[in-house]
């Protein structure tokens, strides 16, 4: 089966299956992620993190095809990773390095090493002060760590940034600021984002497209407007995703 950048989708999963021992994490998952800011939601154990790890080439699918930027995620994993930035759920950054030193270190992995200007620009984009970034990472607050994580993902002008639970450890103010940063970067730089999160109201504010995973398969996906129409949700209410989620998981919620 040929792999194509289908209809402007950045990421395409075609009947992807992945098991870990006896546990089937993904069960013939077929999913599409377009350009822009997209969300990936589902309950714990649905297969979100597995999907993200497959996109990054950290693990291989048992069967099926995954295409990222029209490239095979297994064979062309290195090429894909040159164009992607990632912020994992619980990111590990070397505690003894300063923020600036870490960004300098990261830039060495890419074809073009980032200049000091590039590093300062990346820090400015995420609202991290250069003075703060010159401190050791061990002294950073949770919000600063997340911002640094976003800066390292953006440093090499990534076309797509994957965020896995980016606001899970942040206070309400930090969450609002983080989502505003994501929206601004998407608008100003054209960078696409794929956000995996449990916090539905936040996703609703920033995402143009949402894919919903249930038990390793896609339950539904589309723009918020299309999802609202399909699930007969009142579009004027500011809880489209929550209502769609409740409808899809009604049996589990015993509604």
């Amino acid at each position: 089966m040929s792999i194509q950048a289908d209809q402007g989708f950045l990421i395409v999963f075609e009947n992807v299956t992945k098991s870990f021992g006896k546990v089937r994490a993904l069960n013939s998952l077929s999913m599409h992620i377009p350009k822009g800011v997209s969300g990936l939601i589902g309950p714990n154990g649905a297969g979100k993190t597995t999907s993200l790890n497959l996109i990054l080439g950290l693990i291989r699918p048992d069967s099926g095809n995954i295409s990222v930027f029209g490239l095979d995620a297994v064979k062309d994993s290195l090429k894909i990773r040159k164009r992607i930035g990632v912020l994992h759920e619980k990111p590990y950054f070397p505690p003894n390095l300063t923020g600036v030193e870490f960004l300098r270190y990261v830039s060495q992995f890419y074809d073009e090493e980032a200049s000091e200007d590039d590093i300062i620009q990346a820090l400015l984009k995420v609202g991290l002060d250069e003075k703060v970034a010159s401190r050791q990472i061990r002294t950073f607050s949770a919000g600063m760590v997340q911002r640094l994580g976003l800066a390292q993902a953006l440093l090499h002008r990534a076309e797509l940034v994957i965020l896995d639970e980016p606001t899970a450890n942040l206070d309400p103010l930090g969450r609002i600021e983080f989502t505003r940063i994501v929206t601004r970067i998407n608008k100003d730089c054209g960078t696409s984002f794929l956000i995996s999160s449990h916090i539905l109201p936040e996703l609703e504010k920033v995402c143009e497209w949402v894919s919903i995973i249930k038990e390793g398969r896609i339950a539904d996906e589309g723009s918020l407007v299309n999802l609202a129409e399909r699930w007969k949700v009142n579009k004027k209410e500011n809880r489209i995703l929550e209502s769609v989620f409740e409808s899809i998981f009604a049996r589990e919620l015993k509604l």
Partner: protein, 221 residues
Amino acid sequence: MIEVNLFFLILPSLAVASSFSPLPGTSLIQQTNMLLLLSQFLSAIIFSRSIAGGLSRGEFKLLLTYPITRNNLIFTKLVVDTLIPFVIMTFVNAIGTYLSGAGLSAPFWLAELISLIAVTYIGGMTILIGLLLKSESTTMLVVLMIIFATEFATSSLPQSVQFVSVGGTWHALSSFIGPYGLVLHTNLGQQAALGVVEKIAVIFATVASSLFYSNRFMELD
């Protein structure tokens, strides 16, 4: 990214120096026994922290999101993690030799050779065990147990398998190493040479299998 501090230099240097005696012939076993054990312990600690610790901390998960291959990552870690304890033990050996007044004679260079063999042997083993267990403390414990079991049980092992341990190899080598070279035409000399070759073979086998199986071993959650 491994932290090295003066602890690794000062205390081992004093320990090595204290085991020296002025006569190189009689001090060789004492000097190198300490270096042998220190090399292996240091190697086990550094490799455990680097490989198994890297997996459990999420360092590998971070690094593999950048455009580098698993093989590149493991191989680079092998080289750097070998150099670090080897350089440390060189300092220890040099400081200990200086403090004892023995000078940079043949035992210093032979001690360097055995230190390199010990570091790469234990390092290769620790990489493989670390990739399997993915836990820094468990890997360190398992490797240290192997070191203790092989080093301290060396004398009770049949001579043909004594080269399993680094100490066993070294004892055979040091039995007939004169100030200027290895006596290869003797049966013992050939066995000792075989022991060194076996060591190198084990090192390459563990590194090759860890590279070959790294995709499976390093499947990240």
